[in-house]
């Protein structure tokens, strides 16, 4: 049996749970609890341990989809979750006050994992707030010394968007994957 995992991360409310639910073949397992901290201003429930979804590729092959909890105080779990992962999907909520701070934080937090695997970045909620634009994210990432990374506007509720984002992750791992 061949099993791999893809990690979804990003700040609270960026759409990790939603993204996993649109890609998963099973009803995702979430560990949502009533939000008790400042998260409650954003949403009623939040992920406190992780989200889990599953894509069945064929009879014996599966891709596990793990979503990290958004709050920084749970970051001790991130290293465990990423072990053996194929790559990282980072979702950034554009409507938050300082989305670039989120970007810096998550790129830094997962730096070693990204260097050994791959990353694709989805910017969510651009319909609610259009600035910064995608070009601004490219500029920031370049200024941080990262190579050219796939960054796309996505709606985490849309299968096509999330599919394209994960495809960009896989092709970044190996663009020569044959048809």
């Amino acid at each position: 049996m061949s099993e791999h995992k893809i990690i979804f991360t990003g700040p609270v409310g960026a759409g990790k749970t939603t993204a996993i639910s649109v890609l998963s073949d099973i009803v995702p397992i979430t560990t949502d609890e009533l939000a008790s901290d400042m998260t409650k201003d954003l949403k009623q429930q939040t992920t406190v341990a992780m989200d889990y979804g599953l894509m069945r590729i064929n009879g014996s092959e599966r891709v596990h989809l793990y979503g990290t909890p958004g709050q920084e105080r749970f970051n001790f779990m991130w290293e465990v979750l990423t072990q053996g992962g194929l790559g990282l999907v980072l979702l950034i909520d554009n409507s938050r006050k300082e989305p670039f701070q989120d970007l810096y934080f998550f790129l830094d937090a997962f730096k070693s994992f990204i260097h050994t695997t791959a990353i694709s970045i989805g910017i969510t909620r651009m319909d609610e707030k259009s600035h910064p634009e995608i070009d601004d994210y490219h500029r920031e990432i370049s200024a941080m010394g990262w190579p050219v990374l796939p960054i796309m506007e996505v709606d985490a509720r849309e299968k096509e968007d999330m599919s394209m984002l994960v495809q960009s992750l896989l092709y970044t791992i190996d663009p020569t994957i044959a048809e």
Binding site: I57, M126, P147, P150, M152, S163, Q167, L170, P175, T176
Partner: protein, 400 residues
């Protein structure tokens, strides 16, 4: 000055004789197509009156008393001036008549904007706010439809297989699968002149509009127009995809497409127009793809190593799955067009079309002296163990 996709403006023709009336109607139709239509006097927004007819003076008095707020163009052989009226001397110079009608149209539009501005602030805000986003292409002609199944949905819907085949043909050219064993030969048919078509005109207009920070209109001979809104990074496109596509293949002169700077603010233009705004980059991207049809911009050297400065925002652009592969390859290592085709084993049409669109968007960077790092592992051998599995995940994702 012309604007995008307003409702037709009604024009009344008064006092013209039986010969001049159809001539004037033909003139209007030729220059403004369906944007100006001849209507009865009481429905018109503009009136053109021939003062030299038997009823000329009476008609003028009636216009001045009953429609004193409405723009009026008077035609006469006599040199005269009438307060509040534009007088054009016969014999008519068509250019002057055209310009005068355009000025009147602008005034009418401005009045409309003024009236709308007087509406409640909340209603005005609702009309302006959605401008920030892409975009629902109107009309059945749009092959790759933007969906808006709920509020704030801004995405592309997946086309059917037949529709996708049409998209591929219109962007990447006809499939060469039967000839794929033939070596890649550079010949004239692989190139198109991107400097004499809509792609360059649009690109230049966008650049000028952005540097001036002022909206601009691209006005075609048939009166259709595209309005560029540089600050919102959007455009108002009155031309459906099916009509825009053939225009991308034509050699166009400055006479055929005029770029007119607008004096109106972006919000005024958005309020006055029924079209949904769409991102400027997405428009330039698809215009470049339709211009390319799987060919390269003339002067492109296929053996120079290239890369991309950044990924195009493919979720919001006309894209096919091969574009993701090419973007992934070009974002990692500089590589030539020829090598790209060899390594990815895809038809050159996909690569050339993607190159052309990226080139138009200034995403391409050339690396003439780049040499691959000898320590760098061959990506194929490095990932070989995972390839089969990755392929199967991709197949699964593409079937979603």
């Amino acid at each position: 000055m012309l604007f995008a996709n307003h409702e037709p403006m009604g024009i009344a023709l008064l006092g013209l004789n039986g010969k001049d009336q159809p001539m004037m109607e033909m003139f209007l139709k030729r220059h403004w197509s369906t944007q100006c239509i001849v209507v009865p006097d009481h429905l018109a927004k503009l009136c053109i009156l021939d003062l030299d007819g038997i009823e000329g003076n009476r008609l003028l008095q009636r216009q001045q008393s009953e429609y004193n707020q409405r723009p009026l163009i008077v035609l006469s052989v006599h040199d005269m001036s009438i307060v509040g009226v534009r007088v054009l001397r016969k014999p008519l110079r068509t250019e002057l008549l055209k310009e005068t009608i355009d000025v009147c149209r602008s005034e009418i539009l401005q009045d409309r904007i003024r009236i709308e501005k007087a509406q409640s602030e909340s209603e005005r805000i609702i009309r302006v706010l959605p401008s920030t986003g892409p975009v629902k292409q109107r009309g059945i002609a749009s092959e790759w439809q933007f969906q808006s199944s709920g509020e704030n949905k801004r995405r592309l819907s997946v086309p059917s297989a037949a529709s996708q085949a049409r998209i591929i043909e219109s962007t990447c050219g006809k499939s060469n699968k039967k000839e794929e064993k033939q070596p890649l030969i550079t010949n004239k048919s692989y190139f198109y002149n991107h400097e004499s078509n809509l792609q360059l005109i649009l690109k230049s207009a966008i650049e000028t509009s952005r540097s001036n920070r002022k909206p601009a209109h691209l006005v075609f001979q048939d009166g259709k127009s595209i309005t560029i809104l540089p600050n919102a990074n959007q455009c108002l496109n009155a031309i459906s995809d099916s009509k825009l596509k053939p225009r991308c293949l034509l050699k166009l002169s400055a006479e055929q497409v005029k770029v007119v700077s607008s004096d109106y603010s972006e919000s005024q233009l958005m309020m006055s127009c029924d079209d949904n705004p769409q991102p400027l980059d997405a428009l330039l991207w698809k215009v470049s793809l339709w211009s390319s049809r799987g060919r390269l911009p003339i002067g492109t050297v296929e053996d120079v190593n290239i890369g991309i400065r950044k990924w195009p925002n493919l979720t919001r652009m006309l894209a096919i799955p091969e574009f993701i592969r090419i973007a992934a390859l070009w974002s990692k290592n500089p590589i030539s067009l020829t090598k790209t085709a060899e390594l990815l084993r895809i038809e050159t049409g996909y690569i050339y079309a993607f190159f052309s669109a990226c080139h138009a968007m200034d995403l391409i960077q050339f690396h003439s002296s780049y040499k691959q790092n000898s320590n760098q592992k061959d990506p194929i051998s490095k990932k070989l163990a995972k390839t089969g599995f990755l392929r199967r995940i991709l197949t699964r994702l593409q079937s979603m």
